[in-house]
């Protein structure tokens, strides 16, 4: 018998083992849900998959009686627009701030303490301020996401910039490069995969800020819908929405990873 630390599953086995907990949880849900429904057919807490499907068909494929929209899709589009705008702004700002403070000691001296402090502000506490200053429209939600994750991305990029071996910077200088050329040609390309990675890691926080902002002040969006139907205990809508958000998060993470691998084949090869 090998030691436990040396026992590794075969590839196919690994897949099966990975799926096992999901299957167990699903089974557990079905069994408890059935038990509760058998006791009380009107139970809302653990709806059957049938009623979830019914609810989602209504949300996704029948126009809403009030607005005529297909709510599931308009919710998804609104949320993704806000999340996309917020994360894109944060990525650009974070990259610029991170490279500038990572590569230029003078700028670092000015901005690093500020960056450290801002990254410690609990952003959700700023939400009322944003609503007061920017109103309840789209802008305040996008800004919340942006200021929520910019400091994280900026600090990560700053650290990554400083991790680039000093030998490369010296080498570039001995080839006659000026500061702008070193930033554009040596640092920036090597930081792009790091930026994608930082964005991947910050998407979770991005969703959190999005849903919080939508829950408090919005007229559509995935977060808005979940908090709206909570009043009617509509678990048959909430659970599929949560599953959908999880799926979206998974897909974005997967896509970003693939893009990074495709565009930057030299990354992680060292």
């Amino acid at each position: 018998m090998k030691r436990l630390i040396n026992l590794t599953p075969a590839p196919a086995m690994k897949w099966l083992l990975g799926l096992l907990p999901f299957a167990v949880l699903l089974l557990l849900y079905v069994v408890t849900s059935d038990a509760r429904l058998a006791e009380n057919a009107a139970d809302k807490l653990l709806p059957s998959f049938g009623s979830m499907q019914e609810a989602m068909t209504r949300m996704a494929f029948e126009p809403s009686k009030r607005s005529g929209d297909y709510l599931f899709w308009t919710d998804t589009a609104s949320s993704l627009r806000r999340l996309g705008a917020g994360v894109a702004i944060a990525a650009v700002l974070g990259l610029i701030i991170g490279i500038a403070t990572g590569a230029l000691p003078m700028l670092s001296a000015v901005f690093s303490p500020l960056l450290t402090v801002t990254s410690l502000i609990p952003c959700l506490a700023l939400l009322p301020v944003l609503f007061i200053v920017l109103g309840l429209g789209e802008l305040s939600k996008v800004v919340l996401i942006a200021i929520g994750i910019t400091p994280f991305i900026a600090r990560d990029i700053q650290r990554r910039t400083r991790e680039i071996p000093v030998e490369q910077l010296i080498k570039a200088q001995t080839l006659g490069a000026n500061s702008a050329q070193i930033i554009c040609r040596v640092l920036l390309p090597q930081l792009m995969p790091k930026l994608i990675n930082a964005v991947r890691l910050s998407l979770g926080a991005g969703w959190l800020f999005l849903i919080a902002a939508e829950a408090i002040a919005s007229t559509d969006g995935l977060g808005y819908r979940i908090f709206l139907v909570r009043r009617y205990l509509s678990m048959d809508v909430i659970l599929p929405y949560v599953a959908w958000i999880t799926l979206l998060a998974f897909v974005f993470d997967y896509l970003l990873r693939r893009i990074s691998k495709r565009l930057y084949p030299w990354e992680l090869a060292e």
């Binding site: 490369q168 570039a172 001995t174 080839l175 490069a177 050329q181 554009c184 390309p189 090869a269």
Partner: protein
């Protein structure tokens, strides 16, 4: 060409180099040997302008050495010398682009074509023509060092600094690298400073070999005294064998 006069280098209380007095003429090939941690890399850093001297003077053609690296002094490190995100060709072309003013050093149109042609001929000279479109991580250690040398030479430096460039290579590959370096040294009229931990390599390549060592040691404070050039030897390739001990 290069003159050190009573040169000292401290890091805080730690004296690394002391009382270094040497003059180097254009075209010399100097090999530096000495125990690990005795300050050979530090000496190259002073020549590069990455570190500044603490006392004395270090001049290049009569002027104090610039306090930051420049294209007149090329460098090849033991590792991390090439840009990992550029192919072999891009690495060498970048050396041409970086000599142009501008924000990015990217070349376009005819200048780009000319630069690629020039780079490819140098790449062939160092024996990498088959790997011109590969990334550094796809190359062996020896190929990477050939690339680093080609890239450094593209900037047309007068002085080439090599810090244990072959330290991580197999002995068989090293012999090829020695031939390459000697060829390039002669063709390009370079002044070379090369750190090596292999005394035989030092004698074989250099026209002059420096031994760095601590002439004074305080057993209670090993960092109180620094290393200096204790032996300054002309090697056999230089007319006849001269043996002189520099006065510290």
């Amino acid at each position: 060409m290069i003159t050190a006069h009573n040169l000292w280098k401290h890091y805080g209380d730690h004296t690394v180099l002391e009382r270094i007095n040497v003059t180097v003429d254009e075209g010399e090939f100097i090999t530096l040997v000495g125990a690990s941690g005795c300050g050979k890399t530090t000496f190259l850093k002073l020549l590069l302008g990455v570190e500044s001297i603490s006392r004395g003077s270090l001049t290049l053609s009569g002027e104090p050495i610039a306090s930051e690296p420049g294209p007149d002094r090329g460098i090849v490190f033991q590792q991390y010398s090439v840009f990992p995100h550029m192919s072999v060709l891009e690495n060498v072309v970048a050396a041409i682009g970086f000599r142009q003013p501008g924000l990015t050093g990217f070349l376009f149109g005819q200048p780009k074509k000319d630069a690629e042609e020039l780079s490819l001929s140098l790449i062939s000279k160092v024996g990498l023509q088959a790997a011109a479109h590969k990334y550094p991580h796809e190359l062996s250690g020896g190929m990477r060092q050939r690339l680093a040398i080609a890239q450094a030479l593209m900037a047309k430096p007068k002085i080439l600094l090599l810090d244990e460039p072959f330290g991580a290579l197999d002995p068989g590959i090293r012999a090829d690298m020695h031939t390459l370096v000697l060829d390039l040294w002669r063709e390009n009229n370079l002044t070379v400073f090369m750190v090596t931990h292999d005394l035989k390599e030092g004698f074989h390549l250099g026209t002059r070999l420096w031994v760095f060592d601590k002439p004074r040691i305080d057993p209670h404070a090993p960092e109180a005294y620094g290393a200096t050039i204790t032996y300054d030897l002309s090697t056999s390739r230089n007319t006849d064998v001269a043996f002189s001990e520099t006065s510290p």
